[in-house]
């Protein structure tokens, strides 16, 4: 008896760690239903997809929506009230900083549109982000929200009370812009924390971490689902406690995009695997210069890749966030 009780409590602990509170899950579902009910029938039919629609699941990209079409409804086609309902849903599914990061990425695209003297009006801007829902929003059955456009693809799977953000793509162009005198760097923390980490390593550790070759782009970017490459660089297990904390904090820039409760569970998982998590770097180590890095562990692959496309690579960043064991919540959904 005691053994069974012990097993039950261990399982309960494990499950409790992986779950978001019922109240949060209910709020998310309510926001999703609120958004759906704000739409007319035609819009709703554009937004909703079967949860098992394999083609829709992978229909995301780093590229502008005029180059790679997205499905769902476009923000620019929604009324103010509908758009607010869509953004309220997104805010409920993301953490405060994740939501702010999303807005900053979209703001960057708006800056890109404006800065071209209007030439990019048809290709860039906040109006050109799409939202779609796969499955029926539910606190028990799996469903998924897709939100994205140029430089943004959030694939958020809700499986009961688990929230999974992988695979997701964040990017920034320009990586730095100003709004009303205030500087915005959508992926500034991803940049600065990484440079801090590489410079916190000692010479021998840096020698392990720094790859002796140039990495021109993301290795496992959009369209590369289901693949895992051999890890390289330095293992978390070869770092001291402070460096490990910096590595975890850096990974948190992606893991922490989803709402705080789901993020806490994900961070706990990443922390457990930290000793087996690799950090690889390619490029100079002075902040402000273009450098690629990768974080790769048993349940995570993160890539950060400056893009040498049309100018200063530090002003155009692509990133990828994956969980090779649980992309699109495949592990969680099968539980």
């Amino acid at each position: 008896m005691k053994k069974i009780s012990f097993l039950a409590s261990v399982l309960a602990c494990g499950l409790a760690q992986a779950q978001i509170p019922a109240s949060v899950a209910s709020t998310i579902v309510a926001k999703a239903n609120g958004f759906l009910s704000s739409l007319d029938e035609g819009q709703r039919s554009k937004v909703l997809f079967d949860f098992n629609d394999a083609a829709q699941r992978v229909k995301w990209s780093n590229l502008p929506t005029t180059m790679v079409a997205r499905s769902g409804v476009k923000m620019g086609d929604l009324t103010e009230a509908q758009r607010k309902a869509a953004m309220d849903l997104l805010a409920a599914m993301l953490s405060k900083r994740g939501y702010e990061k999303t807005l900053a990425i979209m703001g960057g695209d708006e800056a890109l549109k404006t800065a071209g003297g209007g030439r990019g009006a048809t290709m860039f801007g906040r109006d050109l982000y799409y939202i779609s829902i796969m499955g029926k929003p539910s606190v028990s059955d799996p469903w998924m929200l897709q939100f994205g456009g140029h430089h943004l693809a959030l694939n958020i799977t809700m499986a009961g009370r688990e929230g999974i953000l992988t695979p997701s793509h964040t990017a920034a162009q320009p990586a730095k812009y100003t709004v009303e005198g205030k500087t915005v760097r959508p992926l500034g923390a991803e940049n600065d924390k990484a440079f801090a980490l590489i410079n916190a390593l000692d010479e021998a550790q840096r020698k392990q971490a720094i790859l002796n070759y140039k990495v021109a782009d993301l290795v496992l970017g959009p369209g590369q689902d289901g693949k895992t490459i051999q890890p390289e660089g330095i293992k978390g297990g070869a770092m001291n406690a402070n460096q490990q904390a910096m590595l975890l904090d850096l990974a948190g820039e992606w893991a922490g995009i989803i709402n705080e409760q789901a993020a806490a569970s994900r961070m706990a998982e990443l922390k457990r695997n930290l000793a087996e998590t690799w950090f690889a770097w390619s490029g100079p180590t002075t902040n402000g210069t273009p450098a690629y890095y990768r974080i790769q562990g048993p349940t995570v692959v993160i890539e950060y890749a400056p893009q040498p496309l049309g100018g200063d690579p530090t002003m155009h960043i692509h990133t990828m966030y994956r969980d090779p064991t649980n992309d699109y919540g495949k592990k969680s959904v099968s539980r």
Binding site: M67, Q173, Y213, G311
Partner: protein, 214 residues
Amino acid sequence: MKRVAAGALLAMSLAPGAAGHRLDEYLQATLIAVSRGGVELEIRLTPGVAVLPVVMAAIDRDRDGRISVEEERDYAGRVAREVELRVDGKPAALSLIESQFPSLEEMREGLGTIRLKLRAERTGRELRLENRHLPQISAYLVNCLSADGLAVGRQERDQAQRSIRFEYSFGKSEAPFWLAALGMLVVARIAACSYPWKLRTLPYGRGSDWSRAR
């Protein structure tokens, strides 16, 4: 009304055509899948708009502005010949398994990716690969994929990633510890779910299901 003050840094990509797609490089990304039966290469070739004429000159041999099936096949064959694979020091001939070519329109926009899948039947312990295809205009990525039971030694590349060398071996097809632990957790959870826990919560000795079950 928000005033967006774009700095000089924005000037780099104001032309819509410069957004997010390749310009002056031919990106050749290779993933190597090593198995007990041989080696498979997946090569993705993405020409930037500025280098498309060079790439087209290599593909569109009759200069008619179109890519025929024969030209696709010939080009895939050329890439297969210019990617040299050696296993244990011996050349391993690559045969084309699959090829996909994008439309010319997509390539003109810098969005088109040619996908080739090549295979060599040779197995061994050390792999060397060198990509000699259009080096003047290309940027390269080359990586070995992970696989169950596959152990890969240090991967050595040149600075441009045109070449790679590594040793590899296959152990038992054991799942990694964390996967095994996960499996155990899942099994335990299924067992836990199957067990009539709710009966245990009923008070003893009141004619409950629990007391009856005992």
